[in-house]
């Protein structure tokens, strides 16, 4: 079990009701963590619409997680 920091933006922030949290998880990858959180909080966006950043860098779908990582799940962007 590791402890990670998750920060939420936009639709995920609203659906979670929080901007960030620290949590303990058995998830080994960003994909596994999103699946866990999606099930717990009824996030509407399926995993294939979400990207992830670990420690402020974009990562591949199944990037491994380490204790203390800061994770952001990124809904489809819409700047401009």
């Amino acid at each position: 079990m590791i402890t990670v920091h998750v920060q939420y933006f936009a639709i995920l922030r609203e659906q979670r009701g929080l901007t960030q949290e620290k949590l303990a998880t058995d998830a080994a990858t960003t994909a596994a963590l999103y699946a866990e959180l999606r099930a717990r909080h009824q996030f509407t966006l399926p995993a294939d619409r979400i990207r992830a950043a670990v420690n402020d860098e974009l990562v591949a779908a199944a990037a491994p997680l380490a204790d203390g990582d800061r994770i952001v799940f990124i809904p489809p962007v819409a700047g401009g």
């Binding site: 933006f9 990562v59 962007v77 819409a78």
Partner: protein, 151 residues
């Protein structure tokens, strides 16, 4: 040469002055304004939110790409966050170059890439009181991505 997220109103004249360059014969700028409708629906206001540290990194990469691809002298982009009213300036891109072709191409490249890649989100508030995060409906096309989606 900078990409910035701003919580304050943008001042295009000041932004453009910062690009002044005696070698430049052309300056092309793009402004994204909050317009009163989208896809036929009346819009009352817009809310922008950014994941600033990654947005600024990704934005800086886009500007660097533009400087590599096109013969430009200066590039800048600033994106607003917060609650914006109709007519307000949401994003400003400015590019200087010796010649106009490169300035047009680079300016367009920067705004196209910024819209596709920079982690900024837009929530539309409609005249009737409803609101929606754009591109986040759970039916419809998948967003393009470079790093690959989670699932």
């Amino acid at each position: 040469m900078s990409f910035r997220i701003s919580g304050e109103s943008l001042d295009p004249a000041a932004l453009q002055r910062a690009l002044a360059d005696r070698r430049a014969g052309a300056c092309v700028s793009f402004e994204g304004w909050v317009r009163d409708r989208n896809d036929g629906q009346p819009v009352a206001s817009l809310e922008y939110e950014a994941y600033a540290p990654l947005a600024e990194k990704e934005g800086a990469r886009i500007l660097a790409e533009a400087r590599e691809k096109f013969a430009v002298l200066g590039t800048a982009c600033v994106h607003r966050v917060g609650h914006l009213q109709l007519g307000e300036l949401a994003v400003w891109v400015g590019v200087t170059a010796e010649h106009r072709g490169a300035a047009f191409d680079a300016c367009r490249y920067i705004i196209d890439e910024a819209k596709a890649r920079v982690p900024i989100w837009k929530k539309e508030h409609y005249a009737g009181g409803a609101s929606a995060w754009i591109n986040c409906a759970t039916r419809g096309d998948h967003a393009p991505d470079t790093a690959g989606p989670i699932g």
